[in-house]
């Protein structure tokens, strides 16, 4: 087609040039010529021989053809432009279909005739005899059309006939419409027939659909029947207890409930048709719940053999592994290398496990989970022991086990409760304050809380084993209860030696200090421990969920008891020691609560201490109670942690004591040095540096010297001494015969101005403790980089002190030994340590230049790992190619234009030459005629 059109273009061009006189046959001959295939287009491969498997570049491109195509395109565009460039007006071709290359001559003709006919069928021309020209002028839209049509009249010679034919058919029809009525009737009849058949079809369709519906309904019924059967058999299966062994009890209950629900429904369904729909919907719902159950059961673990009882070796092994794991964790906490979040996201699981169970006012205590997490396992030995205890405490376990089973289900609730933890924490601390207040003075401020808890108990309605405590609602009855307990005690104390049998095995946990102290009154130390252990056993958290709260209250009370015990004047030190174990064990059960207790107490102690400092009271040094508690916490909680919620504040408090309390008397010296040794305990494992303790020991040593002897270099420390109002308290004036270790408890009991503190014996023993503690610190801190800076001044001080007049021999040796030790270690560090060097920055790695091998390498593919770069390169390549192509095109255009111009020029030249030749010939002829004597043409003609 394209060729045809181009040929047309050529003809046009030529017709333009050579006027309109070109005849049709000539044009046709041109067409035929151009249709002859160009050999350069048909044969595009230059190869002479086919070589198997050889690929040649550019074979797929038909260069010759492409060239001719390009030339044709230029002819159509560039050449036209060129030709038009010299013309002032443009010839626009608006003939129908002339712009469209796809149309052949014939189609164009059809189009044109259609247009003509449309015009003729117009309203105006309806009764007009077609005159041709008139019609066309009537149509304004197609203004210039007729001329064009006229222009090609010659070529569209067939069109008119065609149009006439059409017209005639239309006329015919019009005629027939009036003439042939019966025929029409027939036609209509035929159409009616068709209608009927359609109706039938519709009916058929309806029937079919009805049939299908019925079938569906039947299927459904069958299905339901099947389901019913299945349900029946399932319920029988459930009731046959066969499943019971496979599934958990909780789930079993759910199953049973399900079955029970479905059975009545079935009955209803059978009886009433009206309710049938509902029953159906029920049935549709039931499978859902059933499905859920099935899913759950799939997720369940299969019945499996229970763990066999472990051999003692295995138990020991597990215990060891547990300890190892704990130690590892401790080390990690101590280093706390990741200092972005030491507590936050470290191990959320453990965190979660150790969080306290939230207790809110309306909490029924049923949302507690069992402490099954491995992290909290107490070790087998303990568990076994406990199990024995639990067996002792009769058979309440059975009731509880069910509770626990359901408690497991509510695990999820707990997670949501974590969010409420904040409030609960507040509540807890509030309640803490309640019992914290009544510490030394046993006032019954705990009343409200008691009542609250009692109500709480009632609300739960739990089966308390202790019958007496069940009905108590107010304080009088509570007291009665206490009395009844008291009533028991005299009996116990009557026998005294064989008291143990008389201690009840199950004791309700006391709720305030009064209860506890009255409970423990008149018992021997061992019995007290036994009582406490029994309280713990009978209220173990594992037994019942609500026991956790009880135990928390009891823990607080016990701590209070411990504190009060430390402050009692005839000190029962052994009992304090004995209490340590149960308290520690309880802390492992409720770590979070114990931490909160401790923090609360530390905070309060600090507040008291600050007030004492402000009032310049004598007793700003910690009391024995504080010391005991601090020590207890340092045992319960790990001191080596980098940061711990309890031990860090505790240590800070101890250091503050050392730093800020003025040393007024020998007692202060004793307490201070005892605090130092406690700090030594604190920091022993982690080797944390505590400057306060060192400085305190140093000031004490200074107190052992005379002021005059003190050398110049210590001048700055006199500021400290000013601060602490230190007098030469430890300066030994007379010979001391023997040195005993200081008895701290005894010291604590003495008053400040006791004569003992003035005695040289005290001074010597105080110095002894100082030097012992100092030695401990030296051994801890020998790894520190600035060890010499810290301890060398102390070493000189030691020497100074030891050279004093009345220093006993043993102490002197000790002092010298320690100072030697310091010097030795300082020397060591002097030789070992290097000046500080900043951490080296990571060296930039050298670029690797060894080749990288690609598997399955494909040539030409871009293996650049940097995709962006590869992409960019690709685009650049494309740009370059396009630029090249554009340049080539331009070049070719120029060449083409040049050729065209040349051609024109040639033509002009030829014409000129011809004219010239003619003129010359004429002249020659003239000359010839002149010469020959014949003049003009006439003669020539004549001659011819």
């Amino acid at each position: 087609m394209a060729k045809q059109s181009t040929a047309g273009a050529k003809t046009k061009k030529k017709s333009n040039k050579k006027h309109h006189k070109k005849s049709d046959p000539d044009a046709i001959s041109m067409k035929l010529k151009s249709q002859k295939p160009n050999p350069f287009e048909t044969i595009w491969s230059r190869r002479k021989f086919d070589i198997l498997g050889k690929k040649r570049k550019g074979e797929e491109r038909r260069i010759g053809r492409a060239r001719s195509l390009a030339i044709q395109k230029r002819k159509k565009t560039l050449l036209k432009e060129y030709e038009q460039s010299t013309k002032s007006s443009v010839f626009v071709d608006k003939r129908i279909g002339e712009q469209n290359d796809d149309l052949g001559e014939f189609e164009k003709g059809i189009l044109r005739s259609q247009r003509e006919r449309q015009l003729k069928l117009g309203k105006k021309s309806k009764f007009n005899l077609s005159d041709g020209e008139e019609d066309e002028f009537d149509a304004p839209e197609f203004g210039s059309l007729p001329e064009r049509d006229d222009f090609e009249d010659e070529m569209l010679s067939g069109d008119d006939n065609y149009a006439d034919e059409k017209r005639s058919t239309v006329l015919k029809r019009l005629n027939s419409h009036s003439a042939k009525d019966p025929l029409e009737g027939d036609l209509i009849e035929g159409e009616e027939n068709k209608h009927k058949s359609k109706k039938e079809i519709m009916e058929e369709v309806i029937l079919k659909s009805k049939f299908f519906k019925a079938q569906k309904a039947r299927d459904k019924e069958e299905n339901e029947q099947l389901m019913d059967e299945l349900d029946k058999s399932f319920s029988s299966l459930v009731q046959s207890q066969a499943l019971l062994s496979l599934t958990e009890p909780g789930k079993m209950n759910a199953l049973k409930a399900l079955v029970n629900k479905s059975i009545p429904d079935d009955h209803v369904k059978k009886e009433e048709l009206a309710v049938m729909r509902k029953a159906e919907t029920n049935n549709q719902e039931q499978p859902d719940s059933y499905d859920k159950l099935v899913h759950e059961m799939v997720l369940d673990m299969r019945a499996r053999p229970s763990d066999r009882t472990k051999t003692p070796e295995e138990i020991a092994q597990e215990e060891r592994e547990r300890l190892e794991r704990l130690e590892e964790e401790r080390q990690k906490r101590m280093l706390a290398t990741d200092y972005s979040s030491d507590e936050d996201g470290e191990n959320a699981e453990k965190d979660y496990a150790q969080r306290p169970r939230a207790i809110s006012g309306d909490d029924l205590g049923d949302s507690f989970a069992l402490d099954d997490e491995p992290g909290k396992k107490k070790g087998w030995v303990d568990e076994i022991l406990e199990r024995k205890d639990a067996n002792d405490s009769e058979d309440e376990d059975e009731d509880d086990s069910e509770d626990l089973g359901s408690a497991e289900d509510t695990d999820e609730d707990e997670e949501s409760e974590e969010e409420e933890e904040d409030e609960n924490e507040c509540e807890k601390t509030l309640s803490l304050k309640d019992w914290e207040q009544s510490d030394d003075d046993n006032v019954g401020t705990d009343l409200e809380e008691d009542e609250e808890t009692d109500e709480h108990d009632e609300a739960i309605g739990d089966e308390d084993v202790d019958k007496k405590s069940r009905n108590k609602t107010n304080k009088t009855e509570l007291k009665k209860c206490v009395e009844s307990v008291d009533a028991k005690k005299p009996k116990a104390s009557g026998k005294h030696t064989s008291a143990k049998p008389d201690i009840p095995f199950i004791i309700e946990a006391p709720k305030n200090l009064d209860e506890l102290s009255s409970l423990l009154e008149n018992h021997s130390n061992d019995d007290v421990i036994v009582i406490i252990n029994r309280i713990r056993a009978s209220n173990a958290i594992k037994l019942a969920a609500e026991n956790r709260k009880k135990m928390q209250v009891f823990y607080g009370v016990l701590l209070q008891y411990f504190a009060v015990l430390a402050n009692k004047k005839p000190l029962n030190f052994e009992l304090s020691n004995l209490l340590v174990k149960p308290i520690m064990e309880m802390s492992t059960e409720i770590p979070f609560f114990s931490a909160i207790c401790a923090r609360e107490r530390i905070l309060r102690t600090r507040v008291q201490f600050c007030e004492a400092l402000k009032n310049h009271e004598n007793g700003c040094w910690p009391t024995l109670k504080t010391l005991f508690l601090l020590r207890l916490w340092s045992m319960i909680f790990p001191c080596s942690d980098y940061r711990h919620v309890v031990t860090t504040p505790a240590l800070l408090l101890m250091c503050e004591y050392l730093m800020r309390c003025p040393i007024m008397s020998g007692r202060d010296v004793a307490i201070g040095s005892f605090l130092c040794s406690m700090i030594l305990m604190f920091t022993k494992q982690s080797r944390k540096f505590c400057p306060e303790a060192i400085m305190f020991l140093r000031t004490l040593l200074m107190a052992a010297t005379d002021h005059k002897l003190a050398s110049e270099q210590d001048s700055q420390f006199y500021h400290f001494m000013e601060l602490k109002a230190l007098r030469p308290l430890l300066c030994i004036h007379d010979g001391v015969d023997e040195i005993n270790p200081l008895n701290f408890l005894m010291v604590m009991e003495m008053s400040d101005d006791s004569l003992f503190f003035r005695s040289d014996n005290f001074r010597a023993s105080a110095l002894l403790t100082v030097i012992e503690t100092l030695q401990g610190f030296i051994e801890i801190y020998d790894g520190l980089n600035s060890f010499p800076e810290i301890f060398l001044p102390i070493a000189t001080l030691l020497v100074e002190v030891s050279e004093q007049k009345h220093m006993p021999k043993a102490l002197k040796d000790k002092f010298n030994n320690v100072s030697q030790l310091i010097k030795k270690k300082a020397d060591e560090i002097h030789t070992l340590r290097r000046p500080l060097q900043l951490r080296k920055q990571k060296p930039a790695p050298i670029k690797l230049l060894n080749p990288k091998f690609e598997e399955n390498f494909v040539k030409g593919r871009d293996y650049d790992p940097d995709r962006e770069r590869a992409e960019r390169r690709k685009l650049q390549k494309l740009i370059k190619r396009e630029a090249k192509g554009a340049a080539r095109e331009l070049r070719k255009d120029n060449y083409f234009l040049y050729e065209a111009k040349q051609r024109d020029k040639e033509l002009v030249e030829k014409e000129r030459a011809a004219n010239y030749g003619r003129a010359i010939a004429f002249l020659q002829e003239q000359e010839h005629a002149f010469k020959s004597g014949q003049l003009g043409k006439g003669s020539k003609k004549r001659r011819r």
Partner: protein
């Protein structure tokens, strides 16, 4: 005498500050001019009668206000200055002295006509040492920065002020801020900066945690401002050996600290040859904020470009209370517990508390006797406690 001085101080310190508007200058008239008369009269006759007299003055002045406000202000400034100078010449008791120093830089210096005349008083009090000089420093600093006072041995004095007690002093916050701004100039010689840094780091082994934080911040700023003292924290092995050879080549002890902390002259303290081991030690400090801060310091120094100077204000007012409060305020998220192979039964095991006995003899019941021989105490300590 002391009482009267106290009273004078009370009056003089309660003079409202001079301001531009006329309504007030009227009022200040009497106070400005009334007081010098006090001085001129007799210093011992100061009582409420004087105040009554002042009121008379006031009434008088109110009647004849002819002077232009500018000249009034000038005059009053002069009088005010005179009053203060003559007051400061008196033998002032210590508590008043401290109070004066504390308020001087805010209440007095801005209103004096020629603040430089205070320099005698201030330098004298700066020379006293201790807390007093710390307090004098703030006024002195203003004189030096705003009024062009030249103080010859200022840095030596400042250096001498650094002592452990300063970290417990009341006005430490202000002092540390001033110290930081005094050391701000990059024109300070390296030896001075090094001496201050080393001195501070030496102090860090005997001050409370709040002080440690300030020290670390100060040293951080020093190291940032003075790249020349980088040798305190970073010394290559090579040049350090060279120095050893230079310095008599006596002991082969690279770890020896040449710094002399007792030396009051920063030039002679030899700080440049030392290294900040003490700060390194603080990494093991028991207080988590301190040790963390040291770590961050180290980080900051390695990537110097990314960090900025510390704001001393954030640390200078710290105390035990703030640190303790921060610790207590932390939310309790997890509570690790100590673990033992065997739960300990006694509160104070003797093996850990050597040098102490904890037997109780007060009550009649016989407690178990626990004593410990001093000799084997050390061997017991060797045992790893679990």
């Amino acid at each position: 005498m002391e009482l009267s001085i106290c009273k004078i101080h009370y009056i003089i310190s309660h003079i409202p500050p001079l301001e531009g508007n006329d309504g007030k200058s009227e009022y200040e008239m009497w106070s400005g001019s009334g007081l010098p008369s006090n001085e001129e009269h007799d210093k011992k006759k100061l009582s409420k009668a004087q105040k009554a007299e002042d009121k008379v003055w006031k009434a008088e002045k109110q009647t004849n206000t002819v002077l232009s406000p500018a000249s009034i202000a000038k005059k009053m400034k002069l009088k005010f200055t005179k009053a203060w100078i003559s007051f400061l010449r008196l033998p002032i008791p210590v508590n008043v002295y401290k109070e004066v120093l504390a308020t001087l830089h805010q209440a007095v210096i801005p209103h004096l006509s020629n603040p430089i005349i205070l320099c005698d008083f201030l330098t004298k009090s700066y020379d006293i040492g201790g807390v007093v000089s710390v307090m004098a420093l703030s006024s002195l600093f203003i004189l030096m920065t705003q009024h062009g006072l030249e103080y010859p041995n200022f840095y030596e004095k400042l250096y001498a002020l650094l002592s452990p007690s300063i970290f417990m002093a009341k006005h430490r916050a202000k002092f540390f801020q001033l110290l930081d701004s005094c050391l701000k100039s990059p024109l300070l010689p390296a030896y001075l900066a090094a001496a201050f840094a080393k001195k501070l780091s030496r102090l860090s082994i005997c001050v409370p945690p709040s002080g440690e934080l300030v020290i670390i911040a100060l040293i951080h700023n020093l190291l940032r401002r003075h790249p020349s003292i980088n040798c305190l924290v970073h010394k290559e092995d090579g040049d350090e050996n060279e120095e050893d050879k230079n310095d008599s080549g006596s002991e082969k002890r690279p770890g020896f600290d040449h710094f002399n902390s007792e030396e009051s002259n920063p030039i002679k303290s030899n700080a440049m040859r030392s290294s900040l081991w003490e700060i390194d030690t603080l990494r093991h400090h028991y207080c988590p904020p301190v040790s963390r801060f040291v770590l961050s310091l180290e980080n900051d120094l390695t990537v110097r470009s990314k960090t900025t100077e510390m704001d001393i204000k954030d640390f200078s007012s710290g105390s035990y209370a703030t640190i303790f409060g921060d610790e207590i305020r932390r939310r309790v998220k997890q509570v690790p517990l100590a673990f033992y192979k065997a739960t300990p039964t006694s509160l104070f095991p003797e093996s850990d508390f050597c040098g102490w006995t904890l037997k109780y003899e007060g009550s009649n019941e016989i407690k178990e006797q626990k004593t410990v021989e001093e000799d084997d105490a050390s061997t017991k300590r060797q045992r790893i406690e679990c």
